[in-house]
Amino acid sequence: MSVFETLRSAFRGITANKLRSALTLLGVMIGVGAVILLLAVGNGSSQRISGLITELGTNTITVRAGSGFGFGGGGGGGGAATTASSSSPKLTLDVANEVAKAGLGHIDAVVPEVQTSLTVANGATSQTSVSVIGTTPNYFTVTTAKVGAGSGFTAADVTSAAKVAVIGSTIANTLFPTGTPVGQTIDVGGNTFTIVGVLATQASVGVNDPNAVVVAPISRVQRSFTGFGAISSMVVEAIDSNSVTAAQGEVSVELNQLLKYNPASLTATAPYTVTNQATLLQTAAQSAQSFTVLLGAVAAISLLVGGIGVTNVMLVTVTERTREIGIRKALGATRSAILGQFLVEAASLTLLGGVLGVVAALFGAQFPINGTQPVVLGYSVPLALGVSVAIGVFFGVYPAARAAAMRPIQALRSI
């Protein structure tokens, strides 16, 4: 029997029973479509999270004064200074400088920060509760705060405790609605500062506006506002994102030594807290990963169920058509002619269903699902297609092969 005749009889077989063919198509289509789409959703959400990680900086850790989240942050240096007992050493600028000079292998830079909350004003326009950060010039290179216009302050400014400031974009917009703020002056808690730069606008990840800040030399902020006691925090930059954990360990060991803190001791309270946003986000990324795996499992199950559906239809078909196979053999069909027909039938049905499933999934992936834009995984398309076609062809051909191997009379006798 020629290839053309094989194709013709396969096509006849497909069109002869439209309901069966449609069900097979649908089963494969749903299975394939679900696998591709679900994996795309999982992939999309984990890509979103890794995007967030890079945006927040992956290679920094933050050391805050105090033994818990309650003591750190916006409470101000003064607050931290009063809460820590005067008898135990505190996280001071000197300590930060010691850490920076200790020659720790996985550390690139240490950025000390003092922080307080003040009212800033430009003439009659003012804004209350602005976060005023005193720090060193490497603040602008290490943290995600980058200078957008003008420039940062210099090490000389820190040495001379110059009254210069870099302001966040929210402050710039509020206090200087028209014209450029660079070169102008601003009143910070009663002191006049010269604006040398404006920060580039940052994406907001928490409740606080990261653009409502004033950044000034640490020496100036300490002298004018917070005093020379404990600093609020220090940001430590690891040499790369893979060294964050190692850097965190080194910093902890060094700080424990400098602050005479024994973490094994039950009575001592920790004088500092280390937080690592990258680690937190990596945890989030991991959960996104397991989300993808979960979705993949669901997808695999739907592929399996689709496959069982196809298998069922195919098995019923062949059983139903064993008599037909017997007739064809009695009329002179060879085993290979019958196998060819059933192979082409099963393969074209499942392939067509699979392609429709791929098209449906690619179309569905154009639309965000629950805020996440699905991103189709390249390997999922051939995988889903291959598995479903393999299932369809196997269960379409295997029983047919058994029937074709029978003597004609055996096939004719079976129902």
Binding site: M1, A16, R323, R328, L331, I409, L412
Partner: protein, 255 residues
């Protein structure tokens, strides 16, 4: 039977010298199952059928008629014994060669018609030609002629379920003779038909016989047996009588 453009001679057998048997059975036995439960359906049959003969096989139910017929049609393989079809030992053939034998030498008519549903009468008749590798146009032509011959020229595009039992059996006969096989085997071809359809079918078989085709037909109706030139009786898997009604049919030479 309405006279048709196609003539029975289109499907006439190649002239065979009457001395050579087209089929020859030597101590054929067929056993179903094993051990205690074994059923000896055929218990040693020797038989020769000459080319152009018209043979009826008769016998009570369960005597092994169908079993014998399935062996003759190469639909089944005997447990033991030798079956020579046109001088070739069939038991030595592989799947491909057997398929070729079934396709070219044998035309089988079943009691239950065995047409493929969802395929038109024409497509059903074309089927053996497809497996025989006949080109589409020629195939169409031959199938139409065969259907004309059995008086179904106006039913070519009907599906089997839209045909009466007699018409379905005539389609099956057209399918059996479209390849011009060496022998036509019919297992109770009229078993499921009323008397009128029976006459139609027997008429076709008679004319095929007159055209020189070798025919073996199973029946347990005496009037069917009367059409045959030779009547074999089977009982309990053994040949018990071999009677000739009339001499070997002579071929009516076409004008």
């Amino acid at each position: 039977m309405t006279p048709a453009a196609a003539s029975i001679d289109d499907f006439a057998a190649a002239p065979t010298t009457s001395s050579t048997p087209v089929l020859e059975l030597r101590d054929i036995r067929q056993v179903y199952g094993e051990g205690e439960a074994a059923v000896h359906a055929i218990r040693g049959i020797d038989l020769e059928v000459t080319g152009g003969d018209y043979v009826a096989i008769m016998g009570p139910s369960g005597s092994g008629k169908s079993t014998l017929m399935n062996l003759l049609g190469c639909l089944d393989i005997a447990s033991s014994g030798q079956y020579l079809l046109g001088g070739v030992d069939v038991s030595s053939l592989d799947d491909r060669a057997l398929a070729k034998v079934r396709n070219e030498q044998i035309g089988f008519v079943f009691q239950s018609f065995n047409l493929i549903p969802r395929m038109t009468a024409l497509s059903n008749v074309e089927l053996p030609l497809i497996y025989g590798g006949v080109k589409r146009a020629e195939r169409r032509q031959l199938a139409r002629e065969a259907l004309e011959l059995v008086g179904l020229a106006d039913r070519v595009n009907h599906l089997p379920q839209a045909l009466s039992g007699g018409q379905q059996q005539r389609v099956a006969i057209a399918r059996a003779l479209v390849t011009s096989p060496t022998i036509v085997l019919a297992d109770e071809p009229t078993g499921n038909l009323d008397s009128e359809s029976t006459d139609d079918v027997l008429g076709i078989l008679d004319s095929l016989s007159r055209a020189g085709r070798t025919i073996v037909v199973i029946t347990h109706e005496n009037n069917v047996g009367d059409h045959a030139a030779r009547v074999l009786s089977i009982r309990d898997g053994l040949l018990v009588a071999d009677r000739r009604n009339r001499p070997l049919p002579t071929v009516e030479v076409a004008a």
